[in-house]
Amino acid sequence: MRRMLARGRSLLRAAAAGLRASPTTAGVATVTIAVCLLLIGAFALLVSNMERLLERFGQEIRVSAFLEEGLPVARQRALLERVRMAPGVAGVELITKQAAFERFRASAVGRAALLEGLDENPLPASLEIRLAEDQRNQAGLRTLAEALRGIPGIAEVGYGHEWVEGYARAVGLVRGIAVAVGGVLALATLLIVANTIRLSVYARRDEIEILRLVGASRSFVALPLLLEGLTQGLVGGGIAVALLYGFYRLLLPSLQGGLQLLLGYMSPAFLGGGALLGLAAAGALLGVLGSAWALTQGGTEA
């Protein structure tokens, strides 16, 4: 145990000495990681807000199940419970005849002529059904509509085809762009960071050569360099998170007008704790992978 602790301390000392010995190359690698992760973080921020916007739009997708005329309130409530249990349903609301009329009247303000001549309420009671997120597509809607049509007491089922198609296209587009651009950004980051760290390892080839000459094992040479890569990555990731938050706070007020136009009442949100931890962890991973790659490229052979 004491030997392991001593080895751990010596490893930390070696990594710290390595960073002190070449502060410029270590600094360049750290800043490179920070800049690359800042770009990825900014992109993630954009995509996460677009996803939130789409999520909000998605909640607007509803299926209306119009109930048969004259259905007693107890049956209406029983239907509500039955539909609530159906697969793919996120929530159900019962709109009584009266509530439907009130809603229509509220939406027809200024168009009073529409209500003229109505002796009685012609609107049926209905169930307004919100779909689970994974069902907000044509197939999900069609399946639910078919299931609803088979339930006694439901006279008709309606939903907006075009709106649903547009929503599905938008979700597909945003996710496709996120995967494609995110993938390219991640790959570019990995290559840039790995190459920068490779240069910093290359700058220390004399030290590596001498260590090998005096009998250092592969792990003795590699572990401090991997630890240095990990440190550079973590610090770079931390700087990226700090810069991203700084820019977000700084730029948000000037973008507020445009964002309100785009997002409506929804205000933009910063990345969650998980995503921020992920960004810092990605930095650490990049640092270690970059160092490992540099070592396999000829840093430690005999």
């Binding site: 010995a21 001498i210 000459l213 005096v214 592969r218």
Partner: protein, 240 residues
């Protein structure tokens, strides 16, 4: 002269044994050809010959920096050609190496440079400090231990390199042209340190072009030419 022949020296206590060793870096050309020899504990051997004779290749073979194309090499009882990835570092921890260009780390102090083999051996800090101080005292540089190599003269830098090679108390010391960059006075100073290591039981190989050194110290001489071991003289010159 000794090419292809069995070693001329007795095998008992031999730290290095080569059996018909050949090394080729390119097909059709031999850096070393059919060399057999033995080096005993505490023996001091000069390795001479013109540039390209195979001196450096022979040293590289001994400390496992390259593997033989043919033949067998036993160093400290281990077959170097068959050592795995962990075996080579373990072997090198028992061998000290000195180079013409010193190979010191300029950004580390003298003490840190000399202590590197002890770091590798896992020595405790207190033990490391004591051993580094002791070896620096032996080479006369204890007062320079906190200096950096670039602030030292060439002779002092080579003394640091020798201290680094000896601090782990190696059983074999390999010195490749250790005085090649030094003037006559410093050359003798460095050679005396290496001879002293042999006197303490370390088997020493010194590769050199300098015939005057061979004459002056009068030790066993292995002469290589074109990759062949052409001469193995037990004692050369007047001795000292």
């Amino acid at each position: 002269m000794n090419r292809g022949a069995e070693p001329a020296h007795p095998a008992a206590g031999a730290l290095v044994r080569l059996f018909h060793v050949s090394k080729s870096y390119l097909p059709g050309s031999w850096a070393l050809r059919d060399v057999s020899l033995e080096i005993q504990k505490g023996e001091f051997v000069f390795l001479t010959g013109p540039s390209g004779a195979g001196k450096t290749t022979l040293m590289k073979l001994v400390f496992g920096a390259t593997r033989p194309s043919e033949g067998q090499i036993l160093v400290l009882g281990r077959n170097v050609g068959r050592l795995g990835p962990a075996g080579i570092p373990a072997l090198r921890r028992r061998i000290g190496v000195v180079f013409q260009d010193f190979k010191l780390l300029p950004q580390r102090s003298v003490e840190e440079n000399v202590g590197l083999p002890l770091d590798v051996l896992g020595a405790r800090p207190r033990e490391k400090r004591a051993r580094v101080f002791s070896i620096l005292k032996r080479v006369g540089l204890q007062h320079r231990r906190f200096h950096h190599p670039l602030s030292l003269s060439g002779g002092e830098q080579q003394r640091v390199a020798i201290a680094r090679a000896l601090v782990g108390e190696p059983e074999i010391l390999l010195a490749d042209e250790p005085t090649g960059n030094l003037d006559a006075d410093l050359t003798l100073e460095i050679m005396d340190l290496i001879v002293d290591a042999a006197a303490r039981g370390t088997a020493v190989f010194v590769a050199t072009h300098d015939h005057s050194l061979v004459e002056r110290y009068g030790r066993r001489v292995l002469r290589l030419d074109g990759g062949n071991l052409v001469e193995d003289l037990p004692v050369a010159g007047a001795g000292r």
